[in-house]
Subunit: 381 residues, 2 copies
């Protein structure tokens, strides 16, 4: 049995609403390390977006450096990382050829892609891990002098390159950072393609024993249960408040079948949306054992409240964002007809009022406004 822990989208060094998440990241890094040790994993795979940007903050580099250090001291597992769309392949790949002798593998170039990393255990069982570094279709076209114009073609081309070299009688694991057609995204992923389609097909990957995917932050499989996104280890947006974050424990048996289980991670603080009136929320916070979660608060009061953010912060210290749907109606945007421009001031104002507050003008408000407008028109003359 080959045991692999599959994770992705660590985004080390990420901030959210100007708050650094490094402390939170240190917590689940430790949990992942403990899982690798407890499960006696033979490999830990990180399927891209190790860092949040091509030049990560020095503190994020230091955090990962500490992780590598402890990982290497406390575990025999191989560490296999591919570059994602947020990473700089060149920077991530520095000294990769030296580090692989220590069982630390960065797959960041097309050359790395065709050379499998052999993961083995004490009984001599093996799995061959192939990783596709994230790349643009243009890079594939350029490097292989082939005619691929979008992500689906480029990805399939690369998968075929790997398939042409591998031994199908072995357990083969593919690692890729991509958007598989039909999968569910969330607010914290950066689209891989602006204007074009970034979706790739799952079918070309189906003959691998297991496919460890990265890019999407919600755990899910696509096409078949062995073609799987581990999801990010923590929520990076409020749209992920109901995600169950964790990593995948992949057990590959003697018959080359992958059994997958989700290993949960416990965040230091959750990311949640809380909704209600100010008075209720303040009251509620007193009983809330997780009042230090990262919060988006949606305030439903319909009257103005002075200094609402600071009032809420005194009970919810990590409130990150405040919305006031009670004050400003969340009416879906409607295309503005040219006709509206021709409307009278009164009807235009009535419309504006309705769009902003979600209510019609009352009869009294309408009379007052008519008077006011008449007065103004008199002054014009």
């Amino acid at each position: 049995m080959i045991t692999i822990v599959h994770s992705s989208d660590w985004h080390l060094g990420r901030s959210f609403h100007n708050v650094s998440l490094l402390d939170d990241q240190a917590i689940w890094l430790e949990q992942i390390l403990q899982q690798v040790i407890e499960q006696q994993a033979d490999a830990l795979i990180i399927a891209g977006d190790l860092y949040d940007r091509s030049v990560p903050p020095a503190a994020a580099v230091a955090l990962f450096d500490q992780f590598i250090e402890r990982f290497r001291c406390q575990s025999q597992a191989k560490l296999i990382v591919i570059s994602g769309n947020h990473d700089s392949a060149t920077r991530l790949g520095f000294a990769a050829n030296q580090l692989k002798h220590k069982g630390i593998h960065f797959i960041t170039s097309f050359d790395d892609m065709l050379e499998p990393i052999i993961v083995s255990n004490a009984s001599g069982e093996q799995a061959f891990v192939y990783g596709i570094p994230y790349c643009e279709p243009l890079q594939v076209r350029h490097h292989y002098q082939c005619h691929v114009s979008h992500h689906a073609q480029a990805h399939q081309f690369l998968v075929e390159q790997i398939k042409a070299t591998l031994d199908e009688s072995q357990s083969n694991v593919l690692v890729s950072h991509c958007f598989v057609d039909g999968a569910s995204g969330c607010d914290s992923e950066r689209p891989l393609s602006i204007g074009g389609s970034d979706a790739v097909a799952w079918e070309p990957m189906q003959n691998f024993t297991y496919v460890a995917l990265g890019h999407l932050h919600g755990a899910q499989y696509r096409g078949a249960k062995h073609i799987r996104y581990s999801g990010s280890p923590m929520a990076y947006s409020f749209s992920e408040q109901h995600h169950k974050k964790g990593c995948c424990l992949v057990l590959i048996d003697n018959e080359g079948l992958a059994n997958v289980e989700q290993l949960p991670l416990q965040p230091k603080r959750r990311m949640r949306v809380v909704e209600g009136r100010m008075a209720e929320l303040i009251e509620q916070a007193k009983e809330d054992p997780n009042a230090d979660d990262y919060l988006m608060v949606r305030l439903t009061d319909t009257h103005a409240i002075m200094d609402a953010m600071n009032k809420l912060r005194s009970v919810y210290p990590n409130i990150l964002h405040l919305e006031k749907p009670g004050m400003l109606g969340q009416i879906p945007n409607r295309p503005q007809a040219n006709d509206q421009i021709k409307q009278s001031e009164l009807s235009m104002f009535a419309d504006f009022y309705q769009q902003s507050l979600g209510r019609e003008l009352t009869h009294e408000q309408r009379s007052l406004l008519t008077e006011l407008l008449t007065d103004l028109h008199k002054q014009d003359v």
Copy 2:
């Protein structure tokens, strides 16, 4: 005999007058590698400023990555690098603990400083290499909770820390990136201290077998012949046109004495200053086998020349900077006395003319100016 090649101030990724020097850097990187191989060196020391800035361009990271790769394949020598004032210690130190198992040592923290790197040869001879990562006095004060307020104190304090741990019966090599008092700088070094003194004393270091210094770009020793700057491997400013660039070959014999020899490096293009009249220079270029050197041209013609830069570039393709001392006198700056402010317009202008062109006003110019000023004064009334 322990054989060490000492270099420093590589500044990989540096540009000069907006021209990237990466191609030039690749040339002498190869020459240094060949020297290490030919001399069968036991270690290559880089005494700081490996990169030109804390976040080096990705191409510079890739260039050094290739160097490490070839160095590790073709030589048994240890590679020892300390961080300089241009480097980011955190970024340079990434994965350092893993890389040292491959004989690649990055010394970037106070902890690294006290753990010598043992350089040995086939006959079992040894030298102990201690490196001081570049640091500000404030960092030393903070880390050791000691009272040091400037570079000299901080550096001496760190040297004492090392001396307290070492075995004096061995050959001990110190690596440091600092400005030793009285040494000669040039235009391409960034001062270590603005406003304060950045100078440190050589005396505390004199009991080491050899001291491999970095920071100054001109090769020189200070205090004693074994306390030495290798200088940068290439000129990074025109002020270095007469430097002989190279690295130091250090041979430490059985009696613990260091013998030093300069190994020259041949630049792809030299950095030179060329002076003369346009017509002479153009003529001269035809006979110049090194017309593609990086040039600063000082044009001595006293009349205006249209498009001088492009005319020169057609014969000197890598001209980087043009000065026209013939057109605008290069008179040394003089402190402006308050008295001058009280001078008449005529004498002020005469002075300005003299400072700018290096010539006195002629009698005719002076008459014309007097007329003009009289006219202007009439209009004032």
